[in-house]
């Protein structure tokens, strides 16, 4: 009896969907390792982590608007826009990297605030609002930097410490320090979502906005906050992206947000709002990144990679829907 209760509480604590994702990750990891010698290498895991950071940061942020029943499509092109502006400040204006990082994050917060005001105050649909700001971000990056490709410090150059934060090298071995930062952020944002007023109100906006309004809470304020959090994390993602890929091309970024949104949804965040978890988002992005690295390693061609990734997304959402109906 006691053992049964303990087992049940463990499942409740972690969540059924999250446990299913962990299971799928373990099975896929074993499958890819078995099928591909190159996948089994330590460097492949480091590479997978490196390419995951920016998606993970975007996903943690976008989970908040998703829980309100909204969405933030502007984070992909926004990420590119903010990092290009950061590069422009360093390379063209000679400003130190600290200022570039501050401006990059600041731009994310401003975009998030604008999205939030339009959605919460003017009551425009989040999809349309963030689709528009997605387009604005795409154009703005090119205009502000006169169409120049952004380049962040390369290894060995002044300011390259920002790369070492994510991937630290001792001797010939690289350590994925960025994953520790991500895990710390996952814990912090889980606490924010589940144990603070901000998180509770954001969940309440997604589940019953009218009831929250009637109880005298400033819905607009907390609704805007959800988008500000998303923008802030898009700013962090911009730095992670720039430090990983160095060169950022203006006008790109559309579609990057889909991996983040997909990760959050796989992780159990409801598109209708009202529920979601940061741990789930973390696991969802891990699954997407695993597929992005594993499928090419087993020699699967591009078109099949997309079909299989899409199929797994559908399966994950179907499982979630079925679970909710129960």
């Amino acid at each position: 009896m006691m053992a049964g209760q303990k087992k049940k509480s463990l499942v409740q604590a972690v969540g059924v969907q999250q446990l299913v994702i962990v299971g799928v990750i373990v099975i896929l990891f074993a499958f890819f390792s078995l099928m591909s010698a190159s996948f089994r290498k330590y460097t492949t895991i480091i590479t997978m982590c490196s390419y995951m950071y920016y998606i993970m940061l975007m996903a943690i942020g976008v989970t908040f608007p998703l829980i309100t029943g909204g969405v933030d499509l502007s984070i992909g092109t926004g990420l590119v826009c903010y990092s290009i502006v950061g590069s422009y400040l360093m390379r063209q204006m000679g400003l130190p990297i600290g200022i570039a990082i501050a401006v990059t994050i600041g731009m994310g917060i401003i975009f998030g605030f604008v999205n939030g005001i339009i959605v919460a105050k003017l009551n425009l649909p989040p999809f349309i609002t963030t689709l528009c700001t997605m387009m604005i971000a795409r154009g703005l990056g090119s205009i502000l930097t006169n169409g120049m490709t952004g380049v962040w410090p390369m290894a060995g150059q002044p300011g390259s410490w920002c790369r070492d934060i994510l991937k630290y090298k001792i001797g010939d071995t690289i350590y994925p320090i960025g994953m520790i930062i991500i895990l710390v952020l996952v814990v912090i944002m889980s606490i924010v979502l589940n144990h603070t007023r901000v998180g509770r109100y954001i969940i309440a906006i997604g589940s019953n906005k009218e009831a929250l309004k009637l109880s005298g809470v400033s819905v607009v304020r907390w609704h805007v906050m959800a988008y500000v959090i998303s923008g802030f994390f898009a700013g962090l993602a911009a730095i992670a992206y720039a430090c990983t890929f160095t060169s950022i091309t203006p006008g790109t970024g559309a579609g990057l947000e889909l991996d983040a949104i997909g990760g959050a949804i796989i992780g159990g965040t409801a598109m209708t709002g009202g529920s979601g978890s940061i741990v789930g988002t973390f696991l969802g992005v891990c699954l997407i990144s695993l597929l992005k690295t594993g499928l090419p390693n087993i020699g699967l061609q591009a078109n099949w990679q997309q079909i299989i990734t899409g199929g797994i997304l559908i399966a994950a959402v179907t499982v979630d829907m079925a679970r909710r109906k129960k």
Partner: protein, 363 residues
């Protein structure tokens, strides 16, 4: 009074004639330029070439003789977007259109419509290969198939001693950002075909594996992997991003028999450099994997200078832009125009600063 009136009429006629003459001399030309995008510094360099030549022409004329509007899709996979942009360009009724086609088949009807409307088309970058007869008057372009062959020739020279010394088959990776753009596929196939030719001359059999498009379209004899001395493994990512090019490059770089890798444009070459940051297997020594790329940009230039990337081919993007404006103006004025190969050159750490190479490199 009559004299004054006559004088006034004569003056009016002279002024009128002068203004007619001026109007004829001061004819302005408007061009629409449909590029493959603005997604790399390469296209920014083409744009700069167009702007510089336009300024030169307008300064010489003393008025705005030439003006142009340049558009392009966000990605070189966005064929449908480019078709829409070409239609808009056509509707603007310009004096001539510059076109770097992503897929000529998709644009065939619109190219025919331009011809019917009497709007001359000039191809640029990779041009408009296999366009309907007489629709494209001239091209200011790089011969991408030949450019791919230039990479193969330089790479083969670098690694032929290693191939000869190898007791087991060796692997060469090729990363192409897509299998749809004609410039990319021509480069990739030019590389494969030339490499097969050079290796064949030395008595080696080459197997081509990986992406079906490149495997099927390569000209050489189809050889099974088990029978080959050299394996060319072609990878195409599911989306044209540096991240996914880097993932594909990582798969090749991780294999123990890989001795060389080629990235057929800026995104693919940067993907190889990104992948190597973790793997640290590329370099110019005989024990390392020899990486070669295409185009330039800050990251590629730094890698070539450091020797992480052995070399790359640069086109002449600024020259392409300048030549394009010249050809558009000549075509709009009804002058005869002819194809211009804007050329390419292979550069390494040894000649990156030379007069021949440096002006064609961009950040």
């Amino acid at each position: 009074m009559k004299k004054a009136l006559s004088l006034f009429l004569v003056l009016a006629m002279v002024v009128g004639l002068c203004s007619f003459a001026y109007a004829d001399d001061a004819k302005s030309y408007s061009f629409e330029i449909v590029s493959k995008g603005f997604q790399s510094t390469y296209w920014q360099a083409v744009l700069k070439g167009c702007q510089a030549e336009t300024k030169t022409i307008n300064d010489a004329a003393g008025y705005e003789k030439v003006k142009f509007n340049m558009v392009g899709p966000d990605s070189e996979s966005d064929i449908a977007v480019q078709v829409n942009e070409f239609e808009s360009a056509l509707n603007a009724k310009p004096d001539a259109i510059g076109l770097a086609a992503l897929d000529v088949n998709a644009l065939n009807d619109n190219i025919a419509a331009a011809k019917a409307a009497g709007i001359p088309i000039i191809g640029f970058d990779s041009g408009v290969p296999n366009a309907p007869e007489g629709a494209v008057l001239a091209n200011a372009s790089t011969d991408n198939y030949a450019a791919g062959a230039v990479v193969a020739t330089n790479l083969y020279d670098k690694i032929k001693a290693r191939i000869a010394a190898a007791t087991a088959p060796v692997r060469i990776g090729e990363i192409n950002q897509d299998a749809t753009s004609e410039s990319i596929t021509n480069r990739g196939l030019g590389f494969i075909d030339k490499f097969i030719e050079l290796a064949g001359a030395d008595g080696y059999k080459v197997a081509v594996t990986g992406n079906d498009k490149y495997v099927n379209d390569s000209k050489g004899e189809k050889v099974a992997e088990a029978d080959a001395k050299i394996i060319i493994e072609v990878h195409v990512p599911s989306q044209t991003t540096t991240e996914l090019c880097a993932t594909e490059a990582g798969v090749v770089l991780n294999q123990p028999d890989t001795i060389a890798i080629f990235g057929s444009n800026q995104v693919a070459a940067e993907g190889i450099i990104t992948a190597n940051e973790t793997l640290n297997v590329c370099g110019s020594e005989d024990t390392q994997i020899i990486a070669v790329g295409f185009d330039s940009g800050t990251v590629i230039k730094a890698a070539v200078t450091a020797g992480t990337m052995y070399g790359a081919v640069t086109q002449s993007p600024v020259g392409i832009g300048q030549k394009l404006i010249d050809l558009l103006l000549a075509a709009a004025q009804g002058e005869a125009v002819q194809d211009t190969d804007t050329g390419c050159a292979f550069y390494t750490a040894a000649n990156i600063g030379s007069d021949e190479i440096a002006p064609n490199l961009y950040d």
